[in-house]
Symmetry: C2
Subunit: 184 residues, 2 copies
DNA sequence: TGCCATCGTCCACTATAGAAGACGATTATC
DNA sequence: GATAATCGTCTTCTATAGTGGACGATGGCA
């Protein structure tokens, strides 16, 4: 029953930070946690308190339980559907499911966007990662900086250099799409 | 983005402990965390470290992420299916879904037990709670102390005084059943 | 009534989480 | 090739997490 999550949190924290292209200083500013402490946590030289974990997950825009669920799957090779962490935005109904076992250099997300919902995504979250969007069902209007892409079922878009983006579902049915990303 | 989980952890920890009828001293012994510290955490006078949270969730037999997911839903009244914490035992495929929004005096669990799987449950986990088992699909052999109950689809069993129990699915199909429990 | 046993909280002390800033290493810019 | 950012780690210090044990309250039980 011995279950120290310090190591798992360490590797996951580093992954989340680097996936966004953030330095220690930048994550420190966004989260309000000192960069010295973040450095220690990432090297598993400290056991963060619940308060600090809450600040860090908040900076990533993730509920703490989802961040930990991702951390716990660190060494798994197979991710059963029932074990995949799901996060639903209670306001919009936007749902994001982490399909890939964690710690893989390639991550797959299964996203469902309700009809009429609009989700912005800041450029800073895209830095240092290559990603593609593939629509499984419904329609998706994707604004990439000044450019607007109209995607329908089966379409796949490769994202360019980092820009502020917006996901929007113009249809009447929920849009379901895959986000696949790899880090630089 | 301010998201201090200390209060939510406090109430959830107390619920999990009391649902099992454990005193501070008993949880302290099972988890290896001092009872003084557990008392502080339950009164949200301390922010537990990841290490301590790992020991506590381990004592409850829950992954840390599930414990936190339950804590996060503290003040919700509606629990969307996608938000309900699910835990799957990787060895047996046993799946448990927490249906009720947390902090309610009545809790509903949606359990799926694969064919041929056997799950023991110690008497200590039952103390101070009243519970019923209702089979939705498949068959379930439920051993309650020395007594064996054979349940089929639609059957509902009211549990007696605390005893060591075993869930077993003798059928070829997965068994799906509801566990409803309330605290004393 | 008196005596244990057990409950949760409080106290004194130690270990460590966490903040602020210094430091060497690396890379970009001219 | 010198200067200046910026990176992550290390150092110092303070706040607090965490432990062991004492304490008053409560509840059987003789």
């Amino acid at each position: 029953m011995e279950n120290d999550p310090v190591q798992a949190i360490a590797t996951r924290l580093k992954i989340e930070r680097e996936a966004r292209g953030w330095s220690l200083a930048e994550l420190a500013e966004r989260s309000g946690v000192s960069k010295a402490m973040i450095s220690k946590i990432e090297r598993s030289e400290a056991s963060p308190t619940a308060t600090v974990l809450g600040r860090l997950s908040g900076a990533f825009g993730l509920p703490l339980s989802v961040l930990l669920a991702l951390a716990e799957r660190a060494q798994e090779r197979v991710a059963l559907q029932a074990e995949q962490p799901v996060w639903t935005d209670p306001e919009t109904g936007y749902t994001r499911r982490a399909v890939s076992p964690a710690n893989s250099p390639l991550e797959i997300l299964d996203v469902s966007l309700p009809s009429g919902v609009r989700v912005p995504y800041p450029a800073s979250a895209f830095a240092f990662q290559h990603q593609q969007i593939w629509v499984l069902a419904g329609r998706l209007d994707f604004q990439e900086g000044p450019v607007m892409h109209h995607l329908a079922e089966g379409d796949c878009l490769l994202l360019g250099p980092p820009a502020d983006c917006v996901f929007f579902n113009p249809g009447k049915e929920p849009a379901r799409y895959v986000v696949a990303l790899t880090r630089r």
